[in-house]
Amino acid sequence: MPGHRTKGFCASAAALVLCAVLAGCGGSGESVGGGKVVLRYTWWGNPDRAERTERAVALFEKQHPDIRVQPSFSGYDAYKQKLAVQASGGDAPDVMQLDYRQIDQYASGGVLFDLGKQKSVLRTSEIDPGLLDTGRVDGVQYAVPQGRGTETVVYDVKAWKDSGVPLPKRGWTWDDWAESMRALKERTGRPGATDPGWSEDSFEVWLRGQGKSLYTEDGQLGFTADDLTRWWTFTDRLRREGAVSSAEETTQIDGTVENTPLGRGTALSDTNWDAPASGYLAIVPSGIALAPMPSGEDGTPGQYFKPSMFLGVGASTSHPKEAAQLIDFLINDDEAAKILGATRGIPVNETIRKETAPLLKDFDRTVSDYQASLEGTLKDPPQAPPSGDNALQTTFQRDYDQVSYERMSPREAAENYVTEAKAELRS
């Protein structure tokens, strides 16, 4: 370790840190309970997902009497904190659910196990290669996507229809979208959508529609301050016209659908991931529908099938084979798929996806149909974003706040962001 010791206590401190780092490489002391292998399996989600997961896990334990699975879950934000502390303490779980944004950091930090070593147990042939590649870092398969999702314009069907504005249709462009928002504002008096300027995800869709990307292959920024200025000028103008939600509304977004403008009844649509959009069912009584995201002016689609979550194995696990078996079960087992439904996004296993699609109910079905309608029209997903993106996602939102509260011009804020992003990606 390139440590530098000044005082005695510094040395002991360094030693302690070293201990911790080493602990990351040692076994995490997995116990063998009653002759059984015990696997810790953590994930984020809600009670519904918990219930289905419990049932799937029970089935797995029945099939593998020698393995006991200890599942644990919390909400997304809490989960991220917890996993970061556990992983840095050398205590990562055997099987963990991971987000797209975590892969790079966890893989390069040595937290994840090379799944290629368990190829015989963990089958991935049924997964679309483009999608599977998103779990690779430096050519090593560190994680396997478990479900897929894509972005969508989710809208209040009744309000939109009543307004007389033509419904969104496939292949619409961002200009079409903006015109619809203006028309909706004019006819209904309410903003047409959430101001998408805050969302790094929406920006990415817009950017990809122009053939660019958020990050380059080597993890640097894939766009310039000019690009971002154009995006923010575009959204900022719509906001000033009242065609999209005001700063006061947009700032209340906290990740739950309830606190989006659509959820609060102050706008007619929202751009969101397809699976969470189901939350709107309970709060938009007149019903919702999903439309594709707008594409670039030349029709280039910006949205893509994104792995909604991954499964990875802790590098320190004492039972890599069993852990791989569990992942294989969750991804490839027919029965498991029936239990899990689309609770983790639409299944990635192509056979299972086709088999289970007719069995899906309610909103799962809506999402499944929506994805099926896009099948074959989208481009491959980008590789997992560099670890700095975790922080940049928040920075993006913060910098746009400065625009929407009219404290900075789009140009100033964009240049700020690019500076911050470059610093973040360098470190």
């Binding site: 370790m1 390139p2 440590g3 530098h4 206590f9 510094c10 002991s12 401190a13 360094a14 302690l16 840190v17 070293l18 780092v21 990351g24 934000d77 904190q81 970061a84 502390v85 992983a87 840095s88 950091q105 966890y106 390069s108 930090g109 040595g110 937290v111 700063a247 006061e248 509304e249 700032t251 209340q252 906290d254 990740g255 606190n259 670890s387 700095g388 975790n390 922080a391 928040t394 939102q397 913060r398 706040d401 400065q402 509260y405 404290r407 610093a423 973040e424 470190s427």
Partner: protein
Amino acid sequence: MTTTAIPAEAQRTAGPAPKRRPKREREGAAWVFLSPWVLGAVVLTLLPMAVSLYLSFTDYNLFDPPRWVGLRNYTQMFTEDPRYWRSVVTTVTYVVIAVPLQLALALVVALALKSMKHGKAFYRSAFYAPSLLGASMSIALVWRAVFNDGGTVDNLLGTGGWVNKPGWALLAVALLTVWQFGAPMVIFLAGLQQIPAELYEAAAVDGAGKWRQFLSVTVPMLSPVLFFNLVLQTIQAFQVFTPAFAISAGKGGPADSTLVYTMYLYDRGFVASHMGYASAMAWVLLLVIGIVTAVLFRTSRSWVFYASEGDR
């Protein structure tokens, strides 16, 4: 009960030492009593502090081994990070709003309760009730509803929402802290209870009215308690995290207006994984709190009145 009003100069010295029998054997006994604390202080406080001090001179992303970078975290913090300075300003503003408001409210309620004959216990419990809650997620959601556009405050005052306006959001956060004034209130009540009744009687005999009594008896006699509350609440206010985090859903918005110091620290350390930078921020905060506390103690000599200074 004469001894209850003790001078308690805890801040300056370890207080009165037993004067008799300074025997060596008693020293052994002292260490036995202290042993849990010593163990905790070394293992759970000093050692982690040392580690965090070391980390503050490194680049540490939680996963790779820490890399020594000297003072870079500190220079970056002071010279290259405008958001850091915004968080400093936000925190100081918060301290200046929340601490006086909370103490004033706690004092007023304590004074009102003190002069009450009936229902004291009821009021005390009722006023304490909000402090039982902490800043849970549900209370944060309630707060957001009450202080939102069209919420109760908007309806009553016509100010519009607070939580979604950069100029107002911090006030809404501060009010959550102010609202939970139970602990300082109880401490004030305790202090008021200790003021000997004879002092009021003597003042009344001298013809002092109620207001005069308040100024010449209550205020000086209560000043040590006020000081204790002031120091404690100031320290806590500099470390404020939960109310701001909960109300802004972890973002510190709108437009960074509630991004207080510890929240930005948390953000750098746990979201952006710059643990070294976060540790440096923590050490700067520790120093600043230390300095502020020292200044408070220094000024206290001129306004805090210790009734029985010579009791030692």
